[in-house]
Structures are given as structure tokens and as C-alpha cells.
Symmetry: C3
Subunit: 172 residues, 3 copies
Amino acid sequence: MSNAALDAKSTRSVKAPAEVREAVVNLMVDYAIAIDNDCLESWPDFFVEDCLYRIIGRSDYDSGRRGGFVYCDNQRMLIDRVHSLRAANVYQPHLYRHLVSASKITATARGTIHAETNFAVIRTSVPEGEMSIFSAGRYIDEVVMDGQLAKLRSRTVVTDSDAIDILLVIPI
Amino acid sequence: MSNAALDAKSTRSVKAPAEVREAVVNLMVDYAIAIDNDCLESWPDFFVEDCLYRIIGRSDYDSGRRGGFVYCDNQRMLIDRVHSLRAANVYQPHLYRHLVSASKITATARGTIHAETNFAVIRTSVPEGEMSIFSAGRYIDEVVMDGQLAKLRSRTVVTDSDAIDILLVIPI
Amino acid sequence: MSNAALDAKSTRSVKAPAEVREAVVNLMVDYAIAIDNDCLESWPDFFVEDCLYRIIGRSDYDSGRRGGFVYCDNQRMLIDRVHSLRAANVYQPHLYRHLVSASKITATARGTIHAETNFAVIRTSVPEGEMSIFSAGRYIDEVVMDGQLAKLRSRTVVTDSDAIDILLVIPI
């Protein structure tokens, strides 16, 4: 079954305890603000060690394709990615602002929370101050509790646009 | 009294039990994601049978005008609308992404929750991937519980812009 | 230590009781909707009397500069600001729509809740209906309880863009 067909199966959030919902909200918000505040070195800490992070265009995702134009399958790769970004961007030509809607919890099973969350990222050029929509789409996440802290075991960023400037891709 | 004057009367949310708030959040998010995932056939299920759904420009709404440029006053009309959209759009030239803020619960009375919610919809062209703001405004809703499930008895979509391409109007 | 360095110190929300979280959510949403509904006269009521409200560009904020291109250090100045806006705008040429993500609660101490919240404001021209991003950034807030009501003791609006049309600055 394609991912698009799976989407159609359940249009309603499952019930989840208040502490689960709070943990998910906090994770989404803390993640977004850490990136927007340029705390990129903290970004890998939002994931468990054995994790998946990828960015994939929607048409590829819907047709069930694997991979993505960014694909990291462990935390070490995320750390390396931050190093590359820091090395490539001697000066910072853009600012990013994540807008994140509330999450739809699609399933909770065996200690894993499955959630989907709409997002948009607004980019501001420096110093001109011109603002534009950099990316819009949804997060498809698997969240686990690491002690008291919610972390991502898997984050698939499905972007509505297939055209994204890979060289510029800060974490989304 | 005009709708604009009524808005000014109460600027603060009323208190509501946690389960009511959760039901409203879930409804807002599930509704948005269902549309964005192109599960249009599920869209009428977010409403009770005897419902109202309309899209109206803000100047018309503020001056208390009835109607709207989309106006459906029962669930059957919503189902018909989905059929028309599917017939008209043989291929899908755009993707839509709803961003939804948290809801302001303005009243709860006789089993009905009154809520207002800011939204914006970002449209992405396919395959070019160009993104623009398609609509921004607020939902003015009446929510009722249908068993365990929150549903819309009435959704008035008040768009800040009066200029909207009706032919293209997917559910907002 | 610069504000940018302080940001990096704590990337995770602190735990907060459900009623605190609810009060913060309601404050953010009620504030946004009051402005968007053109209830500007209610805007100062979201602050305590001895308050701070300022709008500052991100580069200035990050480098620890004081002040801002809008700076009000008591509620009286907010009331005056509304009067000026009403006097200047005989007719209303634009509509504004705030999109507000969930809040990150960064600290709670001695009755004060410290929170950060990403926002964007979409502006619609009247009557053309053209939409654009007016501002994007984050709120850095100190929230206190005034009886049952959460109010702002301090709101610093940090805009990603340093270029903002001051003459047009409605409350953000």
C-alpha cells in the first residue's frame, strides 16, 4: 500500500495521556526554537543514537520511495552534518523561523509515539530583511522517551515542494 | 450589533476542562492534516449531518452579512462538493498546507463549544514547487461531541482577503 | 554573556503544571486574536501596569543591545500607542493575522513564567487582498498571574528582519 493510501486510513488522532501530549508538544517546540536560535550543535541531541532523519519531497514520499535528498541514519551523521554546515557558512546569510502546528498523534505502541505535525519555515535574508517561505510540509515522527526526555527515533520531513536548495538545507 | 462589535466584547478565552481542550485541538489538527493529505472524502466526516460550512470574506463577515462565497448548510452538500472537486481536478496542480494556531475557546454552553482559531494555508505549485500564501484568516466554529468524537456543527471560515479563486477552493 | 550565548544554554522546556501551560496558551492566543480582530483598545489589558513591551531586531537583540525600535516601559505608553495608531489610521489599509506556535517554557521562578514563542504575522492589503509576510520572529515573555488571568510583565518581540515599517507597526 502506498503512503498516500495509508494516510487515508485514519483521519483521527488517537487518545493519549496528557503527559505524552505534553512531551510531544515540548519536543516539537524545543526542536524548532533550537534551530531558529542557531543552536545547531544541540540539534543531534533531539534524536536517539540509533535514529533516522531524512528530508524527502512529497511526490517521492507518497509513492513509497525510500531515501530522500537528505538522509542520515544515525546520530553521528547528524553531528557531521552540523560540522559541514558550520564550515560552509562562514557568515550566516539567512535566518530561519519554524512555525509548527499542534501534532496529530496517529498511534502509540510499544513505547513509541507516532505523530504528524504540519510546519512551515520562513526565511529572512540578512541584512536586507526580505522574508519568504522556505519550506512547508509535515513531520512524520517516531518519538520515544529517553528517561524524562522525549526524543526522535525517526523524523521524516516531507516537503510539499520537491525543489529545495540542498546546499542551504539547515535542519528542518 | 455587528460581528466586529461582538468580537470586542470578550478578549479572553473561557476556562474549559482539559478533555474539551484536547478534543478541540485534535479536531483542528486532524481536519487540517486530512485536507493536506488529500483525504478529501474524509472531510465531510468532521461535520455533523445538520451542519453549516461557509467561507466568507472578512469585510462581509464584519458587517454581519449572511451567506458567503462558499455556503453549504448540510453534510450532503459537503459530500457533493468533494465530488465536484474530484471531477474538476483530473490532475492535482497544487498542494496545500494548513498552519493552525491554538484555539481560543470563546464560550461553552448547552453542549456546544464555541472556538476561534487563526489559520493560514500555504499553496505549493506542482511540479515547479513555488510556494505562496493561499489564504489567511480565522475559523469561527461550533463544536459538539458526537460520542467520543468532536465534530463541527458550524464552521465559518473568515478570510482576510476578499479575493479568493473560487474555482480552486479546496476545503479550508 | 550575549543573548545568543544564553539561548544555547538550555534547549529544553522546563516542566510546568497543566494550569500554567493552559494559562500561557490562552494568553498567546487571546493576545493574537484581539489584535487581528482590531480590538486594539484591549491590547494594553494583556499587560500589567508596570510592564515592558518592545520590538527589537534580532541582530540587536543577539548582541545584547537594550532598547528597540518600539519601546514602552509601562502600560500607559501602550494606551497612548493605541491612540496614536487610531489617529494615524483614519481608514484601515491592511489586515493582520498572527500565527503562533506553541510556547517553550524556559523557566518558572518566583511567580514568573518565562516563555518563548515563535510567531509570524501575515498582512493582507485592503481591498486588493494581496497577502505577504509582515513579520516573523519570536516572543520572549515574562508572564505573571493577575488573579485568575495571565498577563505579560514583559514582552520582547524579536523580529528576524531588522527592516520594519515603524509607521505601520500595529502591536505584534
